[in-house]
Structure formats: structure tokens, C-alpha cells
């Protein structure tokens, strides 16, 4: 194949001045590496967000109490929402799958001679529905345990591994702050949440148990909870549900028209998606900036190819004398430029892989994912740069008159 010889010729020519070829390629190398790394970071962030939304359990709202306003000044007392609010939301707002009350606390748990500081939360079984979180081993709470406030505990995977190691925790007695509770279940592993916190570092007890034993009972609002997590069925209109919940809670709290809400509803999946979008926009911007360096690299290629054509005028003359057509010369220099860019692109890809690998090893950023599509696109694009910026020098070479080129000093 002639193309093999043309490639060989191009590589020979590039090897004549290795340092110059490398420096020329640098622009392309940096450009391609930068573009791929940026896109990889973007893809990594996207995947992370997808995972977070998934681990959240789909379409989820957080309902919390807000600061009470009195006469324009913000008072210190926070309006507490309670279990009845959760029940009402679940019953009355259409499209709601489940509304789970959640009372959060934290403290030490001890098993044998091991202790562990963790989150201690009061919930009922609806929470597992909202979070789409299954029991790996054991069982959920029974209605009786919930209503009585029994000392039974379901533990997260992290707590299990920290305290129980290889032994079976079911039926064991775990000391939770100042009382003993029987382990009845272990949850599936969930991983990190949106803030990077380990969601498996948690134990769950019935709300009543946590309230009576740890947080204490609020005299004015005996059934108060920290927040309510609400999940909607797939495909439901989240904005509509949010409005309905808001309306319901305003009625319940007797908030006059025009006054501020005494609660907050946050659409969590939307928040995460918005944050992801911000990251994406930022990464896209960076990728564009990086691609500018590709163009600058291309100009460098053009510059060096022009120098190369001038330097090798006699060679061009000789090739023409022994029968090279103008198109042969054009292809020769074009291929040289493409090889230069393609090689630069290849090295850039390798560097990008290296960077992303090291980044992932040390957990820098959200982690990078290099898609084959992006790699091929970058290589193709650097080849195109070779064609685009190599064409003019190659054309100039091909238009030399053989006799002038031969006699060139």
C-alpha cells in the first residue's frame, strides 16, 4: 500500500527533528488531554449525581419546620412538624407514595468491647419505602414495636461491619447510648449521599423509642419529628405535589393568606440535578477553553509545517524531478501534518487516561469517566486539525515549480 510508504516517509521526516516535532505536538497533546479530562470529570459528576438520585429513592421531598416570624423579626423557636403531618400528607396529597416521619439524633453504640459513634434515628417502616431501602438480613419493625416504642434496632451496613465484623448481629444486644436494644435487622448497603457522607453509618429505632430515650418529649408538640421525607410515584408532577403539600400544611397550621410558610419543602432530586447542571455547565465551559488550546496547537502545527516546507524545498524539487505530481507532494505534507496531530492526540489521550486514573485513585473530585466516544471524537478532531492547518503548507509545497525547488539554496 502506498499509504504505508507515505506514513513511513512522514514518520522519517518527523524523526529528523524529534525535539521540534514533540514541541509542535505539545499544543495538541495539552488540548486533547484537557478536553478529555474535562469531559471525563463532567461525566463522572453526572454519574455520581445519577447514583445519588437513585440512592435517594427516586422522587423525594424533604419537609422541615421553619423559623417562626413574629413582627418581622425572626424568633428562635422553630416550628416543629409532627407525625400527624406525615400521616395527613400521605393520606390527602394525591401522587404521594409514602410520607415518612424522621427523628434524628446521634450518640454512641456499644457492642461487647467495641464502641462506635453514629447517627441514631427514629423512623417507622414507611422510611424504607420512601428511600427504596431494603433489609439485607432480619426484618422490619412490627406495628406493635412502633406503637409501643420497643427497644429494637435496625442497623446500617457500616455499623454492622464496625461492631459485628463476621459474626451475625441478629438477636444480639446493642447498647444504644444509655439503654440496650435488640438488633432485628441489617440494611442493604447504600453508599455515599450527595454531600459525601456515608449513609450506612446509621442505626434506626422506632420513633417513639428515640423520643422517649434520647431526644425527650417536646411538651407543646409531643409528636414532633425532625423532618418528613415524602416520596412520589414515578411520573407524578412534582411541582403539583409540592403545591398540594404546601396548601395542606398551611391549612393545618392556620397560616393566613399572604403570610410566610412555617415549613419548608425541598425537592431533593431537583436540587441535586440543579447542582449537577451547574457542574456540567462549568465543565462544558472548561472543555471549550481547552479546545481553544487545540486550535492554538493547530496554528503551531501550521507554523512548523511552513518552516518544514521551506527547509525541504530541495527535497520537494527532487521528488518532483523523479516524477512526483503536485498531488503527491500535497498528500505527503498533509499526511505528515495528520500524523503529527494524530500522534499528539494519541499522547494526549494517554495523558488524560493517566490523569483520570490517578485522580480516581486518590479520589480527587467526583471521579472521571472517559467515554470511548469522547476519545474517538478527540482523535478525529485532532486529525481534522491536522488536515485543516496542514493543508495550506502542503498546498504551498505542491505549487512549487520543480526547477525553482531543485535550485533552492
Amino acid at each position: 500500500m502506498k499509504i504505508v510508504i507515505l506514513l513511513k516517509t512522514a514518520i522519517t521526516a518527523l524523526r529528523v527533528n524529534v525535539l521540534r516535532s514533540c514541541l509542535t505536538m505539545l499544543g495538541i497533546i495539552i488540548g486533547v488531554a484537557a478536553v478529555i479530562i474535562m469531559v471525563a470529570m463532567g461525566a463522572g459528576a453526572q454519574q455520581k449525581v445519577d447514583e445519588q438520585i437513585k440512592s435517594l429513592g427516586g422522587n423525594v421531598f424533604f419537609v422541615t419546620g421553619a423559623f417562626r416570624q413574629s413582627g418581622g423579626a425572626r424568633s428562635n423557636s422553630v416550628v416543629k412538624i409532627n407525625e400527624d403531618d406525615a400521616n395527613l400528607i400521605e393520606k390527602q396529597v394525591p401522587g404521594v407514595e409514602a410520607a415518612a416521619p424522621y427523628l434524628s439524633a446521634s450518640g454512641q453504640v456499644i457492642y461487647g468491647n467495641l464502641n462506635w459513634s453514629t447517627e441514631i434515628d427514629g423512623i417507622d417502616n414507611r422510611y424504607f419505602v420512601v428511600r427504596d431501602w431494603g433489609i439485607a438480613n432480619g426484618r422490619e419493625f412490627t406495628p406493635a414495636e412502633i406503637s409501643r416504642g420497643s427497644k429494637v434496632v435496625i442497623i446500617g451496613e457500616r455499623v454492622r461491619s464496625e461492631l459485628f465484623g463476621a459474626s451475625d448481629p441478629i438477636g444480639q444486644t446493642l447498647r444504644v447510648t444509655n439503654f440496650n436494644a435488640i438488633v432485628i435487622g441489617v440494611l442493604n448497603e447504600k453508599g455515599q449521599d450527595a454531600r459525601g457522607e456515608d449513609q450506612d453509618d446509621v442505626i434506626f429505632l422506632p420513633i417513639k423509642t428515640v423520643r422517649n430515650k434520647i431526644t425527650g418529649v417536646n411538651a407543646t408538640n409531643p409528636k414532633s419529628v425532625s423532618f418528613i421525607q415524602v416520596s412520589a410515584y414515578d411520573g407524578e408532577d412534582m411541582d403539583y405535589i409540592e403545591d398540594e403539600m404546601s396548601l395542606l400544611l398551611r391549612q393545618r397550621m392556620r397560616i393566613p393568606v399572604g403570610a410566610d410558610d412555617l415549613f419548608r419543602i425541598r425537592n431533593v432530586s431537583e436540587m441535586i440535578a440543579t447542582r449537577a447542571e451547574t457542574i456540567q455547565v462549568f465543565n462544558t465551559l472548561l472543555a471549550w477553553v481547552a479546545s481553544v488550546s487545540l486550535v492554538v496547537g493547530g496554528i503551531g502545527i501550521m507554523n512548523i509545517m511552513l518552516v518544514s516546507v521551506t527547509e525541504r524545498t530541495r527535497e520537494i524539487g527532487l521528488r518532483m524531478a523523479v516524477g512526483a505530481k503536485p498531488s503527491d507532494i500535497l498528500y505527503q505534507f498533509l499526511i505528515e501534518s495528520i500524523v503529527l496531530c494524530g500522534l499528539g492526540g494519541f499522547i494526549g489521550v494517554m495523558i488524560a487516561y493517566g490523569f483520570v486514573f490517578i485522580g480516581n485513585q486518590y479520589g480527587i473530585g467526583a471521579g472521571g469517566i472517559i467515554e470511548t466516544r469522547v476519545v474517538l471524537l478527540s482523535l478525529g478532531f485532532s486529525g481534522l486539525i491536522g488536515v485543516f492547518f496542514g493543508y495550506y503548507p502542503a498546498l504551498k509545497a505542491s505549487r512549487l515549480a520543480p526547477i525553482d525547488a531543485l535550485r533552492y539554496e
Partner: protein, 240 residues
């Protein structure tokens, strides 16, 4: 004699130097026949180089006609001229014009890159040509590893690769010492005896003595065209 290989009629070449027109050739008539060994002589500015460029299809005459093997050159396109140079003419230059850092073998195959010769035949053809100029043992050497005479012989092998009708040599001994020059001339004479037409451009009268016909140019005109009665035989002059 039969139809000439080269038939030049009223060939003129004009260059523009700023506003001035310079006539490098002022109407030359010339016939060169198959198998001749022609030396083109003249001082610099005489038009001999211009004549060579026209004969070698490197340039086109401004006026007049040049027919090569019966084909009128002025009607040919750039690509067709390239094809004529590739197939019919072998060039040998004063400065050898070999590709650096490229083996003798690859230098010799260079014209084949622009021909239709199947690639499978390239190596064997190049080897044959290198052997015929006595460089069979140095095919992998790069120009930098060869002496001037050896480099010129690689260039001659390159000129022979497409079995051309004519070899055009521009001051082939100009960059060589006398002894090596003799070797190269012996090679040309040997090729001529094998039937190759050779056109040699030189400004050294003693080199022209090896040719069978001497053409002398002055001021763009052919002023003398004579048979060489006493052809020097390079092979007899101390070439081992």
C-alpha cells in the same frame, strides 16, 4: 537516421527580471538520437541549464516546440510532465540530492513511489540497479555513511530504476575529486554502451571529452554542434 528521441525546434525561453525580459534561450534547433552521449557545454548564463530543464521536462519552453519520443511537451499538463519525468527520464545532479537518513535502497526506490510498478517488485528492482552501479554491498547504508562517489552512484541507480529512455546529468562530477569523477564517467560510458541515451551538462571541457557529441551554448544560442573524434575512455584512465 530514424526519428530523433528529442526534437527541438526554435525553442525559446524568456524570464522576467523585474521589468526586463531576459531571453535565456533565443531559438534553438536540435535533434538528439537514441543511444547518443551528448555533452552540453557553456559558461554560466549561456543557456545550457535552461536547455537541460526543458529537455528534462522540468520547465516548459516559452516558444517553439520540443518533442520527446514523438510527444510534444508544450501540450502536456503538469501531471503528464511528472509522468514523463518518472517513466522516461533519469536525473543525476551535482549535489546527488539523496534523501538524508534514508537507506541507499529506499533512495533508489523513491521514483517507484510515483509509478505504477507493483510494490512487490520494488526491492528486487532497486537491488538490481544498485548492483549494476557496483553498490550491491552497501544497500542499507545511509548517504552520510557513503563517500561522494558512492552517493553519486546511488543517484545513478535511482535514475535507472524506471529504465528511462534518457539520463540527464547536471554537472555529475562537479562535487567529486578527479579520480572519483572518472569512476562516475566510466559508469556513464558503460551505460551508454548498453544503449542508454545520456545528456550531460558540464562546464568542464575535459569532462565533455567523454561524450560522443559536444554542444556548446553561448548567450542563449547553440554555437557549435560537433562529433567528438577522440572520445576519452574513462575506464582506461586508471580506474580500478
Amino acid at each position: 537516421m530514424s526519428e530523433p528521441l528529442l526534437r527541438v525546434r526554435q525553442a525559446k525561453k524568456v524570464y522576467t527580471m523585474g521589468d526586463e525580459l531576459v531571453w535565456a534561450l533565443k531559438g534553438v534547433d536540435l535533434d538528439i538520437y537514441q543511444g547518443e552521449f551528448v555533452a552540453i557545454m557553456g559558461s554560466s548564463g549561456s543557456g545550457k541549464s535552461t536547455m537541460m530543464n526543458l529537455l528534462g521536462c522540468l520547465d516548459i519552453a516559452s516558444e517553439g516546440s520540443i518533442a520527446f519520443a514523438g510527444q510534444e511537451l508544450s501540450t502536456l499538463s503538469k501531471n503528464e510532465l511528472a509522468s514523463v519525468r518518472n517513466q522516461r527520464i533519469g536525473f543525476v545532479f551535482q549535489q546527488f540530492n539523496l534523501l538524508p537518513r534514508t537507506s541507499a535502497l529506499d533512495n533508489v526506490t523513491l521514483p517507484l513511489l510515483y509509478s505504477n510498478v507493483p510494490e512487490a517488485d520494488w526491492i528486487s528492482r532497486a537491488k538490481q540497479c544498485l548492483e549494476s552501479v557496483g553498490l550491491g554491498s552497501r544497500m542499507d547504508h545511509h548517504p552520510g555513511q557513503l563517500s561522494g562517489g558512492q552517493q553519486q552512484r546511488v543517484a545513478i541507480a535511482r535514475a535507472l530504476i524506471n529504465d528511462p529512455l534518457m539520463i540527464l546529468a547536471d554537472e555529475p562530477t562537479g562535487a567529486l575529486d578527479t579520480h572519483t569523477g572518472l569512476e562516475v564517467m566510466a559508469l556513464f560510458q558503460q551505460l551508454n554502451q548498453q544503449g542508454k541515451t545520456i545528456v550531460l551538462v558540464t562546464h568542464e571541457p575535459e569532462i565533455a571529452e567523454f561524450a560522443s557529441r559536444k554542444l556548446t551554448f553561448r548567450d542563449g544560442e547553440l554555437i557549435s554542434d560537433e562529433r567528438n573524434q577522440h572520445i576519452r575512455q574513462a575506464a582506461d584512465e586508471g580506474v580500478a
